[in-house]
Each structure stands twice: as structure tokens, then as C-alpha cells.
Amino acid sequence: MAADRGRGRLVAGAGLVGLFAAGTLLAPWLAPADPTQVPASLTQMMLRPPGPGSLFGTDALGRDLLSRVLHGGRVSLAIGIGVEAVAAAIGVSLGLLAGYYGGWRDGALMRFTDVVMAFPSLILAIGLIAVFERPGLDKVAVVLVALGWTTIARVVRGEVLSVKEREYVQAARALGTPDVLLMARHVLPNVAGPVIVTATIGVGSNMVAEAGLSFLGLGAQAPTISWGSMLAEGQTFLASAPWVAVFPGLALMLAVLGVNLLGDGLRDRLDPRFRRG
């Protein structure tokens, strides 16, 4: 029963993520119109409800919403995965070092992550973005990396602490295996599962954070298309043209739901603590 549910989640999550990835990657070919092109006949084309001409309707500048939703997913995908990849690399390296060597390195890492985690993440992200002269997607990426590595570092550190006491690791060390090799061959494979799970869930959080910051005007700036900034436009026309807000939000929700289901499913499969549950 539990295994079925885990597999169900994995399949549903993978399906949604696959659909989302395919849609955004193939956006230039799938999109029926140019997402940035303002039509010449603007007054006739603006805020058209969903219909045969444009499946999702048009926005206030007469641009095709379906095309914009497809293209907007590229920002979400790039920030979600790109930020997490960099954050995970930093988190794994620092977590390995701290867990393996212990001592002051471990103390320093733990105290630093304590401090970063003492802030509600979006609030600290907003504070960090304020330091820059001008907001933008590049700053969002930098800030999300700066905040995103801490969870993975702690997860890795915890795993390393337990792995390094195991007999086979002790034995390899006694045989004089160099530290780098020891970590790469015996420690890293053991922490891979939890890291993959944490990073998958991190992809979803990054996507939501990017959309939130862009919605607040602190992320993607025009002409970059992001679901978050599309939602900010949509709010203006919520009463008269709700479709402008409905479709980008639906896309964001389904994409994040897919990533979360995938993370849940992977956790059931990879993390022994959740395997019996």
C-alpha cells in the first residue's frame, strides 16, 4: 500500500515534471505566437478571453498568453535547476569537509548555517536583493544560491558523521587511503540519496521563490518573461480579465506540484528512514 503510493507519486511527479520540461524546452517550436510581439491591431487584440484564436487568451498588450506561459517556464526551469545545482555543489563540499574533519570547521559551518536559518528565507532574500542597486533575475539567482546551500550542507554533514564511523570506512582509513579518495569512494555514495531528495525539493522552493520575488517586482524585469511577473500583471486585471492571472499561476502550481511529488517519491525510495512508513 505504502509502496504503491510512493510509486504513484514518483510516476505522477515525473510525468508532470517531464511535461513541464518538454513544454518549456520546446517553447520556441510549440508556442503559436511570438511571446513578446505586441500586435499592430492592439485595441482589438488586448485582453481577449480564451478562445479558438488564442487558447489561453491575450494579455493587456495583446500578446498570446499560451506562448508567454510556455516561454515563462524557461526562467522557472533555469532558476529552479541552475540555482539548486550550484547550491548543492557548495552544500555537499562544505558538508563533507565539516562532517569529515570536524573540529573548528564543523563548528564554524554549523554556527553560520544557524544564523542563515534564523531568518525567514524570503525575508532575508528581499534584504539581500535590496543591497543591489537594481533588482533583476541575476541577483535573484545569486541570492537564492547564497541561501540555498545551507540545508544540503547540514544534511550531508549529518550523514557523513554517521558514515565515517562505520567499519569499512575505518578500515579503508587504516589502510592509508587518501582522504579525497575515501570521501569520493566511500562517503559520497552514502550521502547521495538524501542529497538528491533534498535538492529535488530545493528545485521546487527555488521556483516558488523566483516567482514570488518576480511577483513583488524584485526579480525578472521586462522584457524577460517570468510566471511571477506575469502574475503581477494578472493581478491588475483580476476582475476584468482573470485568465491573465489564472494560466501562469496554474502552470507554476502544477510544475511545483510535480517537483514536490517527485521529491516525495524519491524520498520513499532512497531514504531508508522513510522506506518503512
Binding site: R111, F112, D114, V115, V116, A118, F119, P120, S121, L122, I123, L124, I126, G127, L128, I129, A130, V131, P135, G204, V208, A211, G212, F215, L216, G217, L218, L231, G234, Q235, L238, A239, P242, A245, V246, G249, L252, M253, V256, L257, N260, L261
Partner: protein, 323 residues
């Protein structure tokens, strides 16, 4: 249980771990202050110039530089800043030309009201949904509720807010679209449901699994065997123990509430701290930004401490784990 809470043994038993937990916070708070100080220093550059502009009266610029110890070494500057902070001086807003502490104090009640209402809504709806699902595990209702919970957790809070507003305010006309409405209850409903949504889903899932765990325990079986009615068994015996983990999550969920505050308050034009923070970033009113970030962090750390202490009081196992 209530009898135990007043027992002198418990107070003695609690004092040490509680004190230890408080002391552990000192380095965290020190770190938080260092980080905000560093951000302020980097962001402001020269506050004297920032306050008075490039053509400010040189004498006034000098005076401000002296006051803020701007020419002094970094540690002296930090201590000066910290000294002012401890007296409640968060600096002066560029935009409004009045103390930041005053600006924040004005906005704090609206955010607190929203956060409390969101917590109440999340606990009420989440626990009810959790019980309903757990009473008939595997039923259609169970699947429906738990699917809704998962979707609720994955839905971005600001989009959910817009959709609730579209449904209940624009289409049905039952509730106001946005605004504080001079504190009217009707204005509070949609923002509270929105902000509490992530939380509601988490609580529902936890309440369900926790209750299912508890009903398998022997004492519940015994209660049933004694011939007690199902409502009595669940309400009196099972629920009480099932809710302990829920209490923990209520506290942890406060993080979600604070994270969601800027977004929810922006969607509903709610005059709270979160919306003020976003506006201040737009106006580049950096003293207000850093003041708000600091206040959010202190509230967050304080709330987490309270939750830990509450858990220690409820569950003796947690108390002993600290040793």
C-alpha cells in the same frame, strides 16, 4: 496532565534545559546582528551622504559621521550600531523622515493580527480535515482531503490568494477583494485563509497520520473494549495524544507565515510589515528594509524558542533529550 504542570519537580526539571536553550540563542542572535550590520554597511555605503545627498552641508555630514562613528574602525562602528539598537534606535527612514522603529511599530499589529488569524484558521481546518480523513482511512473522503492537502502545500501563496479573491470576492461577492477595512473581520478572512494554506495542508496530513498511529495503541483498544463510544474514544483518548506533534508543527509553520507575509500582504493590500518591506525596497529606503529584516528575524527566533519551551513542557522525553 494539568496537575503535573504546576508540580515543583517539573519546574526544577524544566529550568535547566530551558535555560540551556535560551543561552544557545545568544550566538545565533549575535550572528544575526552581525549579518544585518554587514548588509547595512554594504548597502548604505556612506549613510551621511545617503541621508543628506551629495550636496549636503559639509558640517552636517561631519556631525552625522561623528554620531554614527563612521570614521572609526569596524568593531567600534558595530558596537555603536548595537548600542543604538538596544535603545530601540533603528535609524531614520529616508522616505518618511522619521524613526524606523516608529514606522515598524505602526505596521506590526496588522501583521500580527493576520498571522494569528492564519494560524487559527490553519489549525481549525487542518485538524478537522485530518480527523475526517483518519476516521475512514482509504475512503474517498480521505483521498480527496489528502490530495487537496498536497495541492495546498504546492500552491504558491500569492496565486492562491488571487484565486480565492477571484472566487469569493469578484464572482460571489461574499467578501471584500482587498484592504484592511478599518479592521473589519470580513477583510481578514481571505488573507488569513491564504496565508494559512500551506500550514493547513501540513497540519491535516500530520493530524491524520498521528491519529492513525495512536488508534493502534493498546490504551485506545482498551477504551474500545470497555465499550466506550467511538466519539468518546477518539475525542477523549486518542486525539489528545495525537495532537502533540501537531503542536510542534504549529510553531514550525510560523516560518511559512512570516515568509508568506510580504506576498499575501501585497496581494490583499494589507498594511503590514511585509508589504512595507517590499515598498521600502522599491523606494530604496534601506534603513527601513534592514530594520524590518531584523525585526522579522528576532520574531522568528523568539517564536521558535517559545515552541521549543512549549514542547519541553508537554513532552518530558524532549526535556531529557537536551541533556
Amino acid at each position: 496532565m494539568p496537575g503535573q504542570l504546576t508540580s515543583p519537580y517539573l519546574v526544577a526539571d524544566l529550568a535547566e534545559p530551558a535555560l540551556r536553550r535560551c543561552l544557545a540563542l545568544a550566538p545565533v542572535l549575535f550572528g544575526v546582528s552581525l549579518l544585518v550590520f554587514a548588509l547595512t554597511a554594504v548597502a548604505l555605503g556612506d549613510p551621511a551622504r545617503a541621508m543628506l545627498g551629495q550636496r549636503g552641508d559639509p558640517e552636517l555630514v561631519q556631525q552625522i559621521r561623528r554620531e554614527y562613528a563612521l570614521d572609526a574602525p569596524l568593531h567600534v562602528r558595530y558596537l555603536t550600531w548595537m548600542g543604538r539598537l538596544l535603545q530601540g534606535d533603528l535609524g531614520t527612514s529616508y522616505h518618511q523622515q522619521r524613526p524606523v522603529a516608529e514606522v515598524i511599530a505602526e505596521r506590526l499589529p496588522a501583521t500580527a493580527r493576520l498571522a494569528l488569524a492564519a494560524t487559527a484558521a490553519a489549525v481549525a481546518l487542518g485538524v478537522l480535515a485530518g480527523i475526517a480523513a483518519a476516521l475512514r482511512p482509504g475512503s474517498l473522503l480521505d483521498h480527496l482531503l489528502m490530495t487537496t492537502a498536497v495541492i495546498g502545500i504546492s500552491t504558491p501563496v500569492f496565486w492562491l490568494g488571487m484565486m480565492l479573491s477571484l472566487l469569493f470576492a469578484v464572482w460571489l461577492g461574499w467578501l471584500p477583494v482587498s484592504g484592511y477595512g478599518d479592521g473589519a473581520w470580513a477583510n481578514l478572512v481571505l488573507p488569513a485563509l491564504t496565508l494559512g494554506a500551506i500550514h493547513t495542508g501540513t497540519i491535516a496530513r500530520l493530524a491524520r497520520s498521528s491519529l492513525l498511529e495512536v488508534v493502534r495503541q493498546e490504551y485506545v483498544q482498551t477504551a474500545r473494549a470497555k465499550g466506550l463510544g467511538e466519539a468518546w474514544v477518539i475525542g477523549k483518548h486518542a486525539l489528545r495524544n495525537a495532537l502533540i506533534p501537531v503542536v510542534t508543527v504549529i510553531g514550525i509553520g510560523l516560518a511559512d507565515l512570516l515568509v508568506g507575509a510580504p506576498l499575501t500582504e501585497t496581494v490583499f493590500a494589507w498594511p503590514g510589515l511585509g508589504r512595507m518591506l517590499v515598498a521600502a525596497v522599491g523606494q530604496r529606503d534601506l534603513p527601513v528594509v534592514m530594520g524590518a529584516v531584523l525585526v522579522f528575524a528576532v520574531i522568528y527566533v523568539g517564536a521558535n524558542l517559545l515552541v521549543d519551551l512549549a514542547c519541553m513542557t508537554i513532552d518530558p522525553r524532549i526535556r531529557r533529550r537536551g541533556r
